[in-house]
């Protein structure tokens, strides 16, 4: 077994979190979620499981929509999209996300692009994976300054969708909708619970002895480094090139 890059571990974890999904949509400029979805598709094919469809927004190769940019949302509203990824400039302990800015709205001193489709997709896509590589107290705050999309809704509000998992550069959290609280499920290798606690602005549940995020088996890693990175290169050439350079560096380090 050779060493694994932190980003490869994220990709493999995403594929695991997507298990059983039939149609996954990925936002533009999200190479790691896209790679995770492509790995899921490759694994499903190998195991003879039902075909996995992937829609990458803004991509020509991985976009079968013919009804303009409204089609993704129409599809999601009908329950035709099983999983989607959301990030955020801020994410809080109740899984509320903020894509608008910090400070008092509307004249926010730091202004981010905006909510995009999050205020809708978080409600209607069953398995939303919150993904943010940067795990710092400025991202994971006690309470977001602006709610682009809430983690939970009161009873009586139509809400088939919502947060399923929070994946960061440090660990994996599940979300308990009833208790409105995250639970740390595993810590990535080379990181610690203490490090995560210090980097997180909200309280979360965890076992006394937190598990380590599993590494991929050799077969999965080979599939990722072969077919998946080739496919990824069609949409994210720069990202695929960089990760190949990093893998080559790993092998050298391992050999030395």
């Amino acid at each position: 077994m050779s060493a694994v890059l932190p980003r490869e571990r994220l990709i493999v974890t995403i594929a695991r979190l997507l298990e059983g999904v039939r149609h996954v949509a990925v936002g533009a400029s999200s190479p790691i979620p896209a790679a995770g979805a492509m790995l899921l598709r490759a694994l499903a094919e190998r195991q003879g499981k039902p075909r996995v469809r992937i829609s990458i927004l803004g991509s020509r190769e991985h976009n079968f929509f013919t009804n303009g940019s409204a089609e993704l949302f129409d599809c999601a509203g009908q329950g035709r999209i099983d999983a989607f990824f959301l990030g955020g400039g801020q994410i809080d302990g109740e899984a509320n996300i903020n894509l608008v800015g910090t400070g008092d709205y509307p004249q926010t001193p730091v202004r981010w692009p905006g909510s995009f489709g999050s205020s809708y997709l978080y409600f209607v896509v069953p398995r939303v994976i919150l993904f943010r590589e940067e795990h710092t107290p400025r991202v994971f705050v006690e309470k977001v300054d602006f709610v682009s999309a809430p983690g939970t809704s009161p009873e009586g509000v139509y809400r088939p969708g919502g947060p399923h998992t929070l994946l960061t550069g440090l660990g994996v959290f599940s979300f308990d909708k009833a208790r409105k609280r995250f639970r740390l499920e595993s810590v990535h290798p080379c990181h610690t619970l203490a490090e995560i606690t210090a980097a997180t602005g909200f309280a979360f549940d965890h076992d006394a002895d937190v598990a380590q995020t599993a590494d991929p088996d050799a077969e999965t890693l080979a599939l990722l480094r072969g077919r998946v990175l080739t496919e990824l290169g069609e949409t994210y050439p720069e990202f695929a090139r960089q990760i190949n350079v990093d893998i080559a560096g790993l092998d050298l380090k391992w050999a030395g």
């Binding site: 303009g68 940019s69 709205y105 509307p106 202004r111 809708y120 709610v147």
Partner: protein
């Protein structure tokens, strides 16, 4: 059909107009940005279907925009929209923050000639809390409490976009970029720039006809090869990321934005 100059098209946009613009990947008439700025337009209400990029950012930087209604403003991989962010910080524009499907719903209502369309989601967001023009209503078909958001029709005065071709009858070919049709259906007048004019009617061949926006919805057409540059046009040419990146850096200050505009003017004069 008479074709127009870019300045002719720019003159069809009045001060204070509600101006609708498409998302970057659908076909932005970047070539119209300068003629609009050169007119010294003020008080525009820009609506982005459903997000905006370099074009509305330039219009904001040039002081043409009073209100922007959008789900996001971004230069994609080049980062945030610099003039937009500055204007928000300074409080010099009004932002009507939206979410993508809500903007689509507003255009759909206008297309159907009905006062509003309803949409799931949004309840409990600060997006909804800051949009007094959106109303939460009870689903009239449900016996149980079932709140749902009503989005009023969006009826722009003018839409401007760019696509590959038009024919001599003024039909334009939008392929599968159906948001361009949504814009035109909802708008009072639609101004289109194209890469080229073709001599054969676009409706003559059923395969092509499926991607046609009929002349009925098109007020005026102007020819502008590479008219979407530096953003890029589907099926024609890619984005010039280096140029967009240069804009992202230079437009960070008002002086830098002005210098970038002037520099590009000089470059234009040099080729013409």
């Amino acid at each position: 059909m008479q074709t127009h100059t870019l300045d002719d098209l720019a003159r069809m946009v009045p001060d204070g107009a509600k101006l609708a613009l498409p998302v970057d990947y659908a076909g932005v008439s970047m070539v119209m940005t300068r003629p609009l700025i050169a007119r010294g337009l003020t008080g525009l209400h820009v609506v982005c279907l459903p997000t905006g990029g370099m074009q509305p950012d330039m219009l904001i930087g040039a002081g043409c925009v009073a209100t922007i209604e959008t789900s996001a403003m971004t230069l994609g991989e080049a980062g945030g929209a610099p003039c937009f962010s500055r204007a928000v910080r300074e409080g010099s524009i009004r932002v009507m923050d939206a979410t993508c499907p809500a903007v689509h719903a507003g255009f759909l209502a206008a297309q159907k000639g009905v006062p509003f369309a309803t949409l799931r989601g949004m309840i409990g967001t600060d997006v909804l809390a800051n949009r007094p023009d959106w109303k939460v209503i009870q689903n009239p078909f449900s016996q149980d409490p079932d709140p749902i958001v009503a989005i009023p029709a969006i009826r722009p005065d003018v839409t401007i976009f760019h696509c590959p071709m038009a024919d001599r009858d003024g039909n334009v070919w939008i392929g599968r970029r159906r948001e361009l049709a949504s814009l035109a259906y909802a708008s009072e007048r639609t101004l289109v720039t194209v890469e080229r004019i073709v001599d054969t009617s676009l409706l003559a061949d059923e395969v092509m006809a499926a991607g046609v926006l009929p002349a009925l919805y098109v007020e005026a057409v102007a020819v502008a090869p590479r008219g979407a540059a530096p953003i890029g046009l589907w099926g024609e040419y890619p984005a010039d990321m280096a140029e967009i990146g240069r804009y992202a850096r230079e437009a960070r200050t008002p002086e830098g934005f002005r210098a970038w505009l002037d520099g590009a003017d000089r470059a234009l004069e040099a080729v013409s």
